[in-house]
Amino acid sequence: MIRFSEEQAMLLDTAREFCQKQSPIDAVRQVIQAGQPLDETLWQTMVDLGWLGVTIPEIYGGLGLDLADTVPIFEAMGRQLLATPMLASTLAAQVLITNGSDDQKNQWLPKIAAGQIATVALTEANGSWDPDQITTHLNQSASGEMTLTGGKVFVLDAGVANVILVSALQGDSLRWCLLDASELPDGAIQREVVIDETRRSYSLALSDIPIRADQVLPGTAFKKIELAGMLLITAEMSGGLDGVLAVIVGYLNTRKQFDRFIGSYQAMKHPAVDILMGSEMTRSYLYHAATVWRDETDDGIVESAVRMAKCCASEQFSEAGDRGIQFHGGFGFTYECDAQLFLRRALWSQYQFGDERHQRQKLSALLF
């Protein structure tokens, strides 16, 4: 069953219109070329639309909606390859909402709703984000002073973040450490090169960073955050699939070979239909997962629904990107062809929080 709320429908319309206007494909290329860590004007516009506060409770200045209600926004952004710190900030807000103390919420949630940038740091250099693989530790000295040591990678928008929530082990227990970016030593945050050029990704070197007790949160919501990340990235991928399909269909309908539009050849037409089916299925899984996220209390069902959506999206989007390059022929091999922007986005997304093989393995245990 899929249910779609009026809030979501409204957000979907607004977000589509906004993203189409703000992020035509030329603008995406300009953003890549400029290489700025943040488009402040755009960001402020999004803040003004209230998007950063959608999931933040009303008492902290947000709209108090469910995370699932942001899915249409992320889908619209993905359609236009619009990458902003909204993914990072939304996930970080989820950490605070689910594991933060009243003081921590009071301090940070209103700021995030108002546009201060927050992010989460989960993945380690070995590519794992699983709590049982984490080597970032919160250590306590004999005198009770705490320090954080380790390192994180793929921290989105850390270069412009005000606050970073880092997953770490204290003994055997998972914690979130809330770092004020301004207190980090110079050079701790380094830009990374990732295949999706629209992303701003950073590594975080953590060497004996002093941590006060009020910077520590319990890590009980970790799995929920992992799934939230999957859900939002799947939303972006669903939009991206629609985007790359449009690029492909556009080319098949205009390019001729041997005096026929290449879209008339079944070697192009039938795979295009396969991509359409993959896109339709991804979108359906996405809104199914969003429905379950909001309505379902059984954690296993939520996890299955989200992993199914991420699995489907990872496989279909990366395949569509790959075929998108191929079907453009020689032009597809150039940077100028828009299919590469989508393929690169697809690859980045595929490997965040596990690709289709990873998800199928997890689903195997969940399903039977």
């Binding site: 899929i2 629609d242 039938h270 295009a272 089916m277 339709e280 359906s284 393995q361």
Partner: protein, 398 residues
């Protein structure tokens, strides 16, 4: 009906089905009305339909005057749900119950209704369908069987193919060409409720790749049928046929109810994976088999969520007709994959065929071979992809 009445009714149906569901016969039952291949199968299913009808569980919303129940449609739906849940056999007069019956009730004369409806419900009169032709596949508009008026009769010549239950049917819903002197090919078609007993009509069973029978090719050689068999007017055959197809798709409602096939769902495959052994060990314990199973669950579940999303107009997206237009493609290909995989779950025993020694009597091997009726019939998968590419994505014709 209020909640309580519904609940009570449902319990009654459930109890009746539990008490009356026929025991599995010693032979393998067909899974759809298109697969009925032996007298034994046919009689078993006809008796089941009679029993269901006599219990008042078929044609419940059809008018009492013609043998129906005159009850609210919801009651029939409850019966259908319970039948599906308990996986009772299907009722074989599918063409009569779902196509001919609703059509006659909709546009037949009073005499037609009196003559046909009750016997459709009771399975006294089996109906078949004469749409496809050997050389024109599913290209209905191009039908070439001729019907020439001669006095108060039409003389029919030509042949129809894939006539399910052709050897058992008393009547056929028939599309034939009554004129070539018309502006377009569609205007030359007429629609008949043709008696199969007429001299010169010869349904000839076709042996399927499964080794069974289950379809006929029906030959018409100067067959004479009464002119008043025509439904609608001469030249209106195309629009009557289109109405029939709408009934088939359930878009209009009005079917008599009952199951028309044994549903195959992914849970059956999961359950089979637990029962079947590959090289002596339960198939589901093999990691690679498990992963194939996960992939199939994802495809099946994916089809289900697509159906669910398609019912929400706000989520229509860029290609709002994509889900509806691809339904047949997706479900038939999934069925082929599921049944093929079901065979592989049996390891060496996958090489068996219909017999007592085979798991579930060889049902899965047969289902796989039968699954091609879905991927071929009604426009092959390849043609469906053309249609989707052209009509949904707007790509140029191949």
């Amino acid at each position: 009906m209020n909640e309580n009445e519904i609940g009570e009714f449902r319990s009654g149906v459930r109890a009746w089905l539990q008490d009356n569901k026929p025991a599995a016969p010693s032979f393998l039952l067909p899974e759809t009305f298109m697969e009925v291949g032996t007298d034994q199968q046919f009689e078993f299913l006809r008796r089941w339909q009679q029993k269901v009808y006599e219990a008042g569980y078929l044609g419940m919303s059809w008018p009492e005057a013609y043998g129906g129940g005159g009850q609210p449609q919801i009651m029939q739906e409850i019966v259908n749900q319970e039948m599906a849940a308990q996986r009772v056999p299907f009722v074989p007069n599918t063409i009569g119950l779902n196509w001919a019956g609703p059509l006659i009730l909709d546009m037949g004369t009073e005499a037609d209704k009196q003559r046909y409806i009750k016997n459709i419900l009771s399975a006294e009169d089996i109906w078949c369908q004469g749409f496809s032709e050997p050389d024109h596949g599913s290209d209905l508009g191009n039908a070439q069987v001729r019907a020439v008026k001669d006095g108060d009769e039409y003389v029919i010549n030509g042949s129809k193919i894939w006539t399910s239950l052709g050897s058992y049917a008393k009547y056929m819903i028939l599309i034939a060409r009554t004129s070539n002197e018309v502006p377009n090919k569609y205007a030359g078609l007429s629609f008949f409720l043709a008696p199969m007993t007429a001299h010169g009509i010869a349904p000839t069973p076709i042996k399927k790749l499964t080794g069974e029978y289950g379809f006929c090719q029906t030959y018409f050689t100067d067959a004479r049928i009464p002119a008043d068999c025509m439904l609608g007017n001469e030249g209106e055959g195309w629009s009557v046929a289109m109405k029939t197809l709408m009934f088939e798709r359930g878009a209009v409602g009005g079917q008599a109810g009952g199951l028309s096939m044994m549903d195959l769902n992914i849970n059956d495959i999961v359950e089979l994976a637990r029962r079947a052994t590959r090289n002596g060990r339960p198939a589901i314990e093999d990691p690679l088999t498990r992963d194939e199973l996960v992939k199939l669950v994802l495809e099946a579940k994916g089809n289900a969520v697509m159906g669910s999303r398609a019912r929400i107009p706000a989520l229509g997206g860029t290609y709002p007709t994509a889900v509806a237009m691809s339904g047949k493609l997706r479900s038939s290909e999934l069925k082929r994959k599921m049944t093929r995989f079901a065979v592989s779950l049996q390891g060496a025993n996958g090489a068996r065929y219909i017999s007592e020694d085979a798991l579930d009597g060889g049902k899965w091997q047969r289902s796989y071979l039968n699954s091609f009726s879905g991927t071929i019939g009604g426009g092959t998968t390849q043609i469906q992809k053309n249609i989707l590419g052209e009509r949904v994505l707007g790509l140029p014709k191949s």
